[in-house]
């Protein structure tokens, strides 16, 4: 049941109605049943896996708090091991076995490590990290262990953010589960806008851009450097629109039920450095890694080189979190390398700026930094999107070939019509402008306070989706990209 389907709309509306009709004490049970139903729409069997993970983290956290057998650390490690073992088995086993086989073969040894024919459970990385974060929070005594299994199970499985985040923190959600949420029209109003905005980003921008990206990236030998540049920029916006759309719809859906989920994106393509980019992109994951990996490794309170190593470790793990492939690891490492190099070059940069009498606040310089950051991000996206490491190398080869080999013949290379290309360009510009107004000028609040404007925006978004959206006969609705993680 995808967010961009009629079945989800019906499911959400029914749940909102039932939720507000039910007495408070039954509501979490209803949401839990709905969340499991939502998850089971993909694969009923894997709901058991989520239940197991929930039970493990629930009991281990209780045992951590009560120091059962006086061993708090034991229960924490047990919870981490069991959950990470499941994650490894379903997500990384085949990748690891492939890497080991190749490494052995490289060393002249032959060994057949069997491959497993298992489907990756949807959203396993998201709910596993959410559950692990909770256990660590209890271990650190940041929060009390949750006593109600129903409430805790709902925290792990809450359907709006279950399969693609945001990866919520126990401190933000658990207390909301204890609160009574009376029906407030304002919640519906405030939920509809991000949900519609998210749908627009997914159905109009991301899925139309996907056609261009797939056309070029799925046959790298047939395309030129310039085509890859266009397709890579298209992918930068496709993945942003796709993923942020999911977060927006999740936030909108949760808001209609009276819950506030965290912001997952904050104008990432207005970032002035890679470090800034990671403060704005997939914020829930970045902050998870910061709190549960980067800080425990020592963060920046250690030697410079150790700090740089910590950055590389965090980004390598982050890459691996995204997918069990070398391309994702390389993508993570490249992002880490950007930060390390930026750190190394900072003194020289400062010297140059002072020589040129340019201050950090200079607007032109800021725009320059935004453009450079966008280009660096795009270069990294090549690794994220390429079907293999060798494809990625081929694409880099084409991009950096001088002079650029030009776009073959016609725009047909992108697999869409010229009006569609123009539409996409306009959509991206509108998206950037809207993003800026949303995050810097509190656009949603202003819209929600102006009846006519609000309904005009509803109308425009729905009309644009109906006309230009990727749906209907002959369309292959794209799954949300982050589902695979």
């Amino acid at each position: 049941m995808n967010f961009n389907s009629l079945s989800y709309l019906i499911f959400l509306v029914l749940n909102i109605i039932v939720y507000y009709l039910l007495p408070g004490r039954f509501r979490n049970l209803q949401l839990l049943a709905a969340s499991y139903y939502f998850y089971m729409c993909w694969n009923p069997k894997y709901a058991l896996l989520m239940l197991f993970s929930t039970a493990v983290t629930y009991f281990c956290s209780l045992f951590v708090q009560r120091s059962v057998w006086g061993k708090r650390r034991f229960w924490l490690v047990l919870s981490l091991l069991l959950n990470l073992a499941i994650l490894f088995f379903f997500k990384y086993y085949n990748f690891a076995s492939n890497v080991v086989t190749r490494a052995l073969s490289f060393a002249g040894l032959q060994m057949d490590i069997p491959f497993l024919d298992v489907l990756l459970p949807v959203g396993i990385s998201f709910y596993t990290f959410q559950a692990l974060g909770y256990t660590i929070d209890v271990y650190r005594k940041d929060i009390e262990a949750e006593k109600s299994f129903i409430d805790y199970a709902l925290f792990v499985s809450f359907f709006p953010q279950l399969v693609a985040g945001p990866i919520e923190r126990s401190g933000n959600i658990l207390h909301q589960l204890k609160e009574y949420h009376p029906f407030r029209f304002d919640n519906i109003k405030e939920g509809i806008l991000p949900a519609l905005w998210g749908l627009f980003k997914k159905v109009v921008v991301a899925d139309n851009l996907a056609v261009i990206v797939n056309q070029v990236y799925n046959s790298p030998k047939e395309h030129t450097g310039a085509e890859f540049l266009v397709a890579t920029a298209a992918f930068a916006f496709q993945i942003y629109c796709d993923f942020s759309a999911y977060s927006d719809i999740a936030r909108g859906s949760a808001k209609m039920l009276g819950f506030d989920l965290m912001q997952n994106f904050n104008c990432p393509y207005f970032a002035v450095s890679i470090k800034d980019f990671w403060r704005r992109w997939h914020i829930s994951l970045s902050s998870w890694f910061k709190d549960y990996l980067y800080f425990p490794l020592g963060g920046s309170r250690c030697s410079k080189w150790r700090h740089r190593l910590n950055i590389m470790i965090v980004f390598a793990v982050s890459g691996l979190w995204h997918g069990a492939a070398l391309t994702f690891v390389a993508w993570g490492l490249l992002n880490g390398l950007y930060q390390v190099l930026s750190d190394l070059l900072q003194p020289a940069r400062k010297k140059l700026l002072s020589l040129l009498h340019i201050s950090d606040e200079n607007k032109g310089y800021k725009v320059f930094r935004i453009l450079v950051t966008f280009c660096l991000t795009c270069l990294a996206w090549v690794l994220f999107r390429a079907n293999s490491l060798s494809d990625a190398m081929q694409i880099y080869g084409a991009i950096f070939r001088i002079p650029l080999s030009g776009i073959h013949g016609s725009l047909a290379a992108f697999g869409v019509s010229f009006p569609t290309l123009v539409l996409m360009l306009l959509c991206v510009l509108a998206l950037l402008a809207a993003d800026w107004f949303i995050h810097n000028r509190k656009l949603p609040q202003k819209l929600n306070n102006t009846l006519v404007l609000r309904y005009a925006v509803y109308f425009i978004l729905i009309a644009v989706m109906l006309l230009f959206g990727s749906y209907g006969d002959g369309y292959d609705p794209q799954d949300f990209v982050y589902f695979q993680f």
Partner: protein, 335 residues
């Protein structure tokens, strides 16, 4: 409420603008709706065997009687029933001719969608959408933007004006002009496999057609168009028996094949359909038969429009006649 109204208007407007233009090959409801109300004396229903083979302007020229072909590609008998009901909401023909080959068509084809897409919104469109269309087609039929919104990048100003202002009356009154020819060597049986359950269902709808006609005081005539790939003698006999059982008239114009003076080398578009030469001959033959009904031409007919139709068809015919016979290269199309 305002938002809902605005969205409904938006969907209705853009559905009509984005729907591909439909000027021939049946299902031409946009043009049919522009026909002066209650001005048609005879109507023809069925598949391409109707809209490729009957020229209303030829009939009008010979008899002064007005007629219209409201057929659709590969139209099945249930769809013909709904077409008849819809057509009779704006016209009150005295006689309707229903091409009966559809009795052997399978219940579903890819043309069901086209047959229904252009129908005006009414129960006559909605009912077959649920009974005749496949599940995959239903969303597009109930919500045309679902099926046609991707045409936005090919839209022209003509699409806009047609979508907003609508069609003009059909200058050929439902007929599709085919000028190419396929030389025919032999006359043979069309390889239909009789599926009893399907045939029974079609017969049930034939009965409904008869009942509807009775209710409206219309004379229904089921007929087989003359062609060179025709239902076997056995199937034709079955049709005759079953229609007589329903108390409706059945005419097999294949029996008149020789008296039509058809030229097998120039008068057919393919083994099933006439081109304009064959259609002219068959329409003239029908015109002579129609005289036997002793009907007086409708006083409500738009004489100027019909004169224009005669001129239009003559111009097309003269243009085609002035050149060498074009070969159609058509395969034996199945409709």
């Amino acid at each position: 409420m305002c938002l809902l109204t605005a969205l409904i208007l938006f969907c209705a407007g853009f559905s009509s603008v984005l729907l591909p233009e439909r000027l021939d090959y049946g299902a031409t409801w946009g043009m049919y709706e522009k026909e002066k109300k209650h001005s048609v004396d005879f109507m023809f229903f069925g598949s391409s065997l109707a809209y490729c083979d009957i020229i209303p302007s030829v009939i009008y020229e010979d008899t002064g009687l007005t007629s219209y072909v409201m057929a659709g590609p590969e139209q099945t008998i249930p769809l013909t029933y709904w077409y008849l009901r819809q057509a009779c909401s704006t016209q009150s023909p005295k006689v309707v001719f229903i091409e009966a080959t559809g009795m052997f068509f399978s219940s579903h084809s890819k043309s069901v969608k086209i047959n229904l897409t252009y129908m005006p919104w009414s129960i006559n469109r909605l009912a077959p959408t649920f009974t005749e269309a496949s599940e995959d087609e239903r969303a597009g039929l109930l919500f045309p933007l679902y099926a046609y919104h991707d045409r936005w990048d090919r839209m022209t100003w003509d699409d806009f004006s047609r979508g907003i202002l609508g069609y003009d009356p059909d200058p050929l009154a439902g007929y599709t002009f085919l000028d190419a020819a396929k030389p025919i060597e032999t006359i043979k049986d069309r390889p239909f496999e009789l599926q009893e359950d399907l045939y029974s269902r079609n017969l049930k709808y034939a009965e409904k057609i008869a009942a509807f006609c009775k209710e409206r005081d219309i004379l229904p005539i089921f007929y087989l168009t003359p062609n060179t790939s025709r239902p076997s003698a056995e199937l034709t006999a079955k049709l005759r028996t079953d229609f007589e059982g329903l108390g409706v008239e059945f005419r097999n114009y294949n029996d008149a094949f020789d008296s039509l003076n058809l030229d097998l080398s120039t008068d057919f578009f393919d083994t099933l359909h006439f081109n304009y030469r064959g259609a002219c001959k068959f329409s003239a033959y029908l015109a002579s038969e129609l005289k036997e009904f002793g009907l007086t031409p409708s006083a409500d007919a738009d004489a100027a429009l019909w004169q224009e139709r005669i001129r239009h068809f003559s111009a097309l015919k003269d243009k085609a006649d002035s050149g060498p016979v074009k070969l159609s290269g058509a395969a034996d199309t199945p409709s």
